[in-house]
Subunit: 458 residues, 2 copies
């Protein structure tokens, strides 16, 4: 419990105008996209790392929990104040500090919105590839904390692959620097990557050093329509086997297409069972050659239709529809449950067969879409959250989905993290010994269990 | 001290034929390429992770140090038994277990030689880019433990970027699995990257899951000769600014060229001050276009000569000479001291100016070569190790080199690690708070300080 004396001290640190305590304000910080709600006792909006550090030291003194928060757009409850306490909203640390066009490096504060950062570097002919669907509102710090991915991971990797260093406030309030402005660096343990994906349990990121690459000169977007999701998934595997690595290889199954088709801007032929949304980029000289090969692979796998987007507008519409798949689905299925599984790419046809069987066994409707190119599928179960009986069936189905995922050498979270919503299933993925090592690290860095308690390990 | 009883138990675990205790054998495991020597008390050659685990449990029971070892080719003393104890030589874990051409993934044991692995995947049209100069004898596990790099890091990154998962024996003897067969994975802390570069202090790697990419269809090797190292370094920066990312951008300065010129297979014109060895790869369609642009950049920066290798033999000779730079130099300078610094790429001209000034100030000869494209320079100081006075000057010079490196936002080790030889300088790089976090992790995982004690933190 946070008493008046602590609130007074917090006010001294951030200023009265940057400490929120009204019921209405606290409610706004109680949830993320996972839909669970826990009310914090106060929200502090620090101006700089030093203020963050002072709040964390205070928390260690009085033993109250701290939950760092960016845009609160996560899908697993990672930024929700499960044990109440103080939310540190980093919204005032929102500046792009440096874009270094000579070294292809940028330095940003954590609450820079990913999409805004991308636009800023693209204006200079540079490229920051990670592109979670939330990029218009999620933040660079949040992306790092959850280990966010996105469609372009097939070719370019995930957030982890573009963070070279950080400034971090540790759980005991020290301000440390990890990594640095070089790709190579072999000076002790890789604390940068340890922080990435640690979901705010090991440190509060106050600065990020980002690796950039030259912006590809051109790109091409294409769609391939298939009668079945299996044919589409087999094409994904075959395209990569043919030694082309597209920028994205996105799959939308029949039920997903039903939700987004109004926004696609193209008609879907009778009998459509799945669509691939494929993008390639690079030197214009090679794009036609690659398009031809991709088309051949799709045709061999029974593609009903293969189209190249005629212009930027057509491509943008396709991408907008794809990125809006989750909200579009929510309109039709207000009670959906979303999971974020990943399996080795070649196992996707098998995973789709298993998902079909699980849906049938439990009389549920399941829609899958996502990043087939890297094996990452967003599996959505349509539920009426008021029906206890249906929720029970859904819960059984989720367990079976996770079991199948692990059996196929995959993971129960590809890019959303564990947070609170997947914590109950963590032991399906990791052994006791693995969890003990992780908990040992947590305890070493955060002896008072101040930072984001109850997350990941439940 | 390891008594007869412990030796007996070790023998029970690995078999008498796999436990070495003769003076001659022990000597062979006392050093690495850094040249310092500490004699182990026994060397065990386990056959599998289970035997590794049993040895580690024994070490925890009797509190003796364990030093894991691959090829012992490191440059910083990382695999040297500083506190004696038992060396675990992983030489029997040397199999490529799986090359999965559908998912572009391989699974290997730690003592697979990097070059052999590369050849094996290239036969299947796949590519494992990391290429430390030692690749003909260093091992995949050793590369992971030191965070090894190599020339191709400019375009493709380092070992860290290609390891997706591991099987690891923890310092308390548990066998754990980290990561997995997918690029995306957001299930708890990133133990894989924590192990990478931890120099055998946090775990013994018994299996590695490797990410592969399609083998580029073609490559082109070229050389550019300059009157000064600064002109060469400026070309490096300008090539990348022109949005071409070559596979490699290697620099050899005048003193380095003097040592390797007999092996290059090409003549160096009068007045040569530095050479760039540049390689590009990819679709044949774009290589000519890129070569033209690179040539233009070099000419603008006063290149005296620009040549494209006429054929594979010519290119191979150039690479052989470059890879042999360190041993070639040893022939001329038997007493050289090598450092492995890295600075942001655009800072290399400034670093070279500072190196010249340091050499002059201390009346020393310094030769630099290495991976200018990613800012990583191998700086070699010619010394007569018998001259106390000269060694003292060299020591002063090294401190100044490291100070300059840190001032230019670089790191005192790019790809060789800290081991014992750089441990005395670690505090020039990292703050006390950063070191405390690392030591906290070490203590959490290895409460009895069994694994490779005395390394990194000194």
């Amino acid at each position: 419990m946070i008493g008046r004396d602590i609130l007074k001290e917090l006010e001294d640190i951030v200023g009265a105008e940057n400490l929120l305590t009204s019921r209405a304000s606290l409610l706004c910080y109680s949830y993320d996209a996972a839909g669970q709600s826990y009310i914090p006792e106060a929200v502090a909006l620090p101006a700089n790392p030093d203020e963050v550090s002072r709040i964390v030291r205070l928390a260690n003194k009085f033993k109250f929990p701290i939950v760092p928060r960016g845009a609160g757009s996560g899908f697993s409850g990672g930024s929700v104040p499960l044990k109440n306490g103080v939310v540190i909203h980093l919204s005032r640390l929102n500046k792009i500090l440096e874009i270094d066009t000579e070294n292809l490096i940028a330095v940003v504060e954590p609450c820079v919105v990913t999409g805004i950062f991308q636009d800023a570097v693209e204006k200079l002919g540079l490229f920051y590839p990670p592109d979670p669907a939330s990029l218009k509102f999620s933040t660079m710090g949040g992306n790092a904390s959850t280990g966010a991915g996105g469609p372009r991971a097939v070719k370019y990797g995930v957030t982890r692959d573009y963070i070279l260093g950080m400034e971090v406030v540790t759980p005991t309030g020290e301000i440390i620097r990890t990594g640095g402005k070089t790709v190579k660096r072999a000076t002790g343990y890789d604390l940068t990557r340890l922080m990435i994906g640690s979901e705010g349990t090991l440190g509060i990121i106050t600065k990020l050093i980002i690796r950039l690459i030259p912006l590809p000169e051109a790109k091409k977007t294409m769609t391939a329509i298939f009668g079945s999701a299996e044919d589409a998934a087999r094409s994904v595997s075959d395209i990569i086997k043919s030694r082309i690595v597209p920028t994205t290889l996105e799959l939308l199954d029949k039920n997903s297409l039903a939700c987004v088709k109004g926004n696609l801007g193209i008609d879907l032929p009778e009998g459509t069972g799945a669509m691939l949304l494929i993008e390639i980029d690079g030197d214009p000289l090679i794009l036609d050659k690659q398009t031809k090969r991709i088309r051949e692979v799709c045709i061999v796998n029974n593609s009903m239709e293969f189209r190249v987007a005629a212009n930027k507008e057509e491509a943008d519409a396709l991408w907008k529809a794809r990125r809006g798949a989750s909200p579009s689905m929510l309109k039709f299925w207000p009670g959906k449950i979303s999971e974020d599984i990943v399996v080795p790419r070649s196992r996707i046809p098998e995973m789709i067969r298993r998902l079909d069987a699980i849906a049938e066994r439990h009389s549920l409707t399941i829609a899958s879409f996502g990043h087939a190119g890297d094996g990452n599928l967003h599996v959505n179960i349509k539920v009426d959250k008021k029906s206890e009986e249906e929720m029970k069936r859904a819960e059984e189905a989720i367990k079976e989905i996770f079991r199948a995922t692990v059996e196929l050498e995959g993971a129960i979270s590809g890019e959303h993290g564990i947070g609170i919503s997947k914590a109950p299933y963590l032991r399906m993925q990791l052994s006791d010994a693995e969890i003990e090592v992780m908990k040992g690290i947590k305890k070493a860095l955060d002896p008072n269990n101040i930072l984001n308690p109850g997350k990941i390990f439940g």
